[in-house]
């Protein structure tokens, strides 16, 4: 009821205020104890304390709007349209109730248990603290048809609460305060800080409108927060700009009666998953952000883990998962808000960041029930969430394996280095080399052949796996990778890898010159590229070039690194003392042309490549006679347009007919072209047409046919030291010359590093004076990565094709 006893109280005011003043003096002496700090955080807490009073009015169902204004002098006004603070005489204290609220610590809580079922208040210390820490505070109350006013300075009332005018139906409270500059170290309010907390309060109190205005800026800055969706909207706000797993946040709420008539517990939870990996969960108790969680959060987490696991089990989604999903797994990518309203909450710690009220069981039961109900109705969302958690569990498992790989010491190590490593004596990394050698036996040879002063050897064994009955796969085992990482000394991983700690200036990959060797090299390069690519960028990684052949004649020996060089060498040796006579008709006395020296070598090398292309085209047509037909340089079968004229294919048709291949001239309507189709020995259809003409090997074959065509007129007469030999065709000529080139020499083809002895390996591949090394550039590693991805990829077709193509090339090597 309206009470205008302001004057009546004036007598008792002085005496009764002593106790009160003592209380507020304590706040002024130790402000940090009450509002956290006298810095930025404490300053903003002053506003929150006042706002919390208004929000309590909203929680009780009386206020619908709170307006906060920052004035030009950094004073702040908070207005609400609640009932207005009671103005009648407080019986115990003998002063107005409003003054009790403004001057007595914890008065808000004590004031009237029945007024607020639940109450917030940041520290539960109430608005009296704000009053104590303000150099000036003005209170205006609209209640019972009157306007009431009172002013304070440093918490001391200048006069009792007094009527200042009349209002019709308006109710509410306005508090304007200016923080005390002799106590607060920071006096300037931050708009964004206030906006963030006020927005949070608006989310937590569905439908409450909160405005924030800043008169310090011109034009005045203003924001309004009002969310009818409550914390579900909060979730959307937190997940803005993120890709979410399910469009609509999961939202549930419930009330429970607490035992012993302790009142009603209100619980509300909203959650949504995004595609990220971090957990973003906020918990609130009576609007207070419980940054350290507490019983409400524990209850929520327990239920979340339990319900998701149960749903996954029921749906049979854990077939490939070894163990249950952990709490961490189910919270990856989770954004959630947990809000409870508890009568007389118990908090822990000075900052009251943790809720201690005994409500975990209620919370778990509530979330279990609601979430299970939700998953029943929305199994698609449930499956997505379980899928995401399984992914997290796998990543957790992966992290364990990765850690295992990089742990400092292991059974196979002594003095920190792997047993298998034969280290060098030199300690200056710039002068040291590490050879990563394929296979134990080649590793042994390399150890004997090395210069132990600066060359270290680490043998790596590719492990053979029998994946399917007909296929074998090769990999580098855990210990091999681990030994390599340890030997290199750089560490691995985001926090551990340091390229400058490398123990060797050159890391040299030395593998066999066969398919397995190239695969091991691909594996190693891919590993370096993915996990140590700085070593490649810094130019530390090299590939050794072991020879493929050794040609020994008398005392001289020569090592050859590849097939191409080998052919050149053979041709060079063969043509040293050789002449080729081309006789256009029979054995005429005067040859049409005579080739020798460099010209002969060029001709023979072309012929050699022609032979290779011949075989490649033959692989497509499966009949050497047809390929021979296509070698005719008089034919017009090179360009697309030539295939559109049937006449150009007629000669081929006729030849194939004579060969008894029963050819057919077919029209390719799609390309308006013609092709000659025949059946090979397995009765499969083969066609000389546009598709064949588009193949690179066919084009090269035709080009070479023209190049050699000028002299391709058998018989060929080879003259050496006046000895003449006639050869009936180019194949015989090639064989004869190659045999000539190898005559009196011993030719050895190395299939692996292990076939060389230590001295040979040192001479050809390891000795810096004589060897050649290929430095690996980033492009090479990228290429390896692509090959590797193809080999690892799920695209079975491209994997098959890659292996097949690779196999073809290897066959060529073996010719």
């Amino acid at each position: 009821m309206a009470n205008d006893g302001g004057v009546a109280q004036s007598e008792v005011y002085d005496s009764s205020s002593i106790k009160v003043l003592e209380g507020l003096e304590a706040v002024r002496l130790r402000p940090a104890m009450y509002i956290g700090s006298t810095g930025e955080i404490g300053l903003h807490h002053l506003v929150y304390e006042v706002v919390d009073n208004s929000v309590d009015e909203a929680l009780a169902g009386y206020a619908t709007e709170v307006n906060v204004t920052i004035h030009d002098d950094n004073s702040v006004t908070v207005v609400d349209n609640g009932r207005g603070i009671p103005v009648d005489l407080h019986e115990e204290e003998g002063i107005s109730a409003a003054q009790v609220v403004m001057t007595m610590l914890h008065a808000g809580g004590k004031f009237d248990n029945k007024s607020y079922k639940v109450s917030g208040g940041l520290h539960g210390v109430g608005v009296s603290c704000v009053n104590a820490l303000s150099e000036h505070l003005e209170l205006e109350i609209w209640r019972d048809g009157y306007t009431w006013q009172q002013e304070y300075a440093c918490g001391i009332p200048k006069a009792p609460l007094a009527k200042a005018g009349k209002v019709s139906r308006k109710t509410g409270t306005r508090v304007t305060f200016k923080p005390d500059s002799t106590i607060m170290q920071v006096l300037t309010f931050n708009f964004d800080t206030l906006a963030q907390r006020l927005r949070e309060l608006a989310f937590l109190n569905k439908g409450l409108k909160i405005t924030l205005a800043d008169e310090r800026s011109d034009p005045e800055k203003q924001q309004e927060f009002c969310y009818t969706g409550g914390i579900a909207e909060f979730i959307k706000h937190l997940n803005r700009g993120k890709a979410v797993l399910h469009e609509k946040p999961i939202h549930c709420e419930a009330d429970r009666e607490l035992p012993n008539s302790a009142g009603t517990l209100t619980m509300e939870v909203a959650l949504q998953y995004n595609d990220g990996y971090s957990e973003n969960v906020f918990s609130f108790a009576n609007n207070i952000n419980t940054v350290d969680g507490g019983t409400h959060l524990t209850g929520f987490r327990t239920a979340l883990t339990r319900t998701i696991n149960k749903f996954g089990q029921d749906q049979g989604l854990f077939k490939d998962v070894k163990e249950n999903l952990t709490g961490d797994d189910v919270r990856e990518g989770l954004t959630a808000v947990v809000s409870v309203k508890v009568p007389q909450p118990q908090f822990e710690g000075q900052t009251k960041g943790k809720l201690n009220s005994d409500i975990a069981g209620f919370m778990t039961q509530f979330v279990n029930e609601k979430l299970e109900e939700y998953f029943d109705k929305n199994s698609t969302v449930g499956r997505k969430i379980v899928g995401k958690a399984i992914e997290a569990a796998r990543a957790r498992e992966a992290a364990r394996h990765a850690r295992d790989l990089t742990r400092r010491k292991g059974a196979l190590e002594s003095g920190g280095m792997p047993h298998k490593l034969a280290d060098c004596q030199e300690k200056d990394p710039d002068r040291c080399e590490l050879f990563l050698v394929e296979g134990e036996s080649a590793g042994g040879t390399a150890k004997q052949g090395r210069d132990r002063r600066f060359q270290a050897i680490l043998p790596l064994k590719g492990k053979i796996l029998n994946v399917e009955k007909a296929r074998y796969d090769k990999m580098l085992g855990h210990e091999e990778i681990r030994a390599m990482i340890t030997a290199l000394g750089t560490g691995i991983g985001k926090d551990d890898f340091d390229a400058t700690r490398i123990r060797y200036g050159k890391i040299i990959i030395m593998t066999d010159a066969d398919v397995d060797g190239s695969h091991i090299r691909t594996l190693l390069l891919t590993f370096f590229f993915r996990h140590m690519n700085e070593l490649i960028l810094r130019g530390h990684v090299y590939i050794a070039q072991p020879p493929l052949y050794r040609i020994k004649k008398g005392k001289s020996e020569k090592y050859i690194k590849d097939e191409k060089e080998f052919t050149r060498e053979i041709m060079r040796r063969a043509t040293e003392n050789l002449r080729l006579e081309i006789h256009s008709t029979g054995n005429g006395a005067t040859p049409k042309a005579v080739l020798e020296g460099a010209e002969l070598r060029a001709y023979l090398l072309n012929l050699d490549e022609y032979e290779q292309m011949f075989h490649k085209v033959q692989r497509r047509l499966r009949d050497p006679r047809v390929v021979e037909t296509l070698a005719n340089i008089e034919l017009h079968v090179d360009h697309k347009a030539e295939f559109q004229d049937e006449a150009n294919l007629k000669p081929i048709f006729e030849t194939l007919k004579k060969l008894g291949l029963n050819p057919e001239m077919r029209r390719d309507e799609e390309h308006s072209a013609y092709g000659v189709t025949f059946h090979d020995s397995t009765n499969a259809e083969r066609t000389v047409g546009l598709a064949l003409a588009a193949q690179p090997e066919y084009r090269r074959f035709r080009t070479l046919a023209r190049t050699i065509g000028k002299f391709n007129e058998p018989p060929f007469v080879v003259v050496k030291n006046e000895h003449r030999e006639s050869l009936p065709n180019w194949e015989e000529l090639l064989n004869h010359v190659k045999a000539e080139g190898k005559k009196d020499a011993s030719v050895q083809r190395y299939k692996g590093l292990g076939e060389m002895n230590a001295e040979q390996l040192a001479e050809t591949t390891m000795n810096p004076e004589k060897r050649t090394l290929l430095q690996v550039r980033l492009e090479d590693a990228v290429e390896s990565e692509e090959i590797f991805s193809t080999l690892m990829g799920e695209d079975v077709e491209s994997r098959r094709k890659f292996i097949e193509d690779n196999a073809l090339d290897v066959k060529n090597l073996d010719v």
Binding site: Y277, R394, A395, E397, A398, A399, R400, H401, A402, D404, L405, K461, G462, K463, I464, L465, N466, V467, R471, Y472, D473, K474, M475, L476, G477, H478, E479, I481, R482, I492, G493, K494, D514, V515, D516, H519, T522, L523, T526, F527, F529, R530, H531, N533, V782, E785, F788, S789, L791, M792, I803
Partner: protein, 54 residues
């Protein structure tokens, strides 16, 4: 190019290249550690027996 694990686009300048994230890097490292990366080998010939295990 693409992240070897999740195939998201990554650029050379990105932190963690060639991976899109630390998580993908760790998954890849674990794949090496657990022998997930095996590539086709030539069929074993009788005269070149290699032991099945370390």
């Amino acid at each position: 190019m693409n992240c070897p694990i999740c195939k998201k686009d990554v650029d050379f300048g990105d932190a963690g290249f060639p991976f899109c994230s630390e998580r993908c890097r760790v998954i890849d490292l674990a794949n090496w550690a657990t022998g997930k990366y095996a590539i086709p080998a030539e069929p074993l010939e009788p005269e070149h027996p290699e032991p099945e295990d370390d």
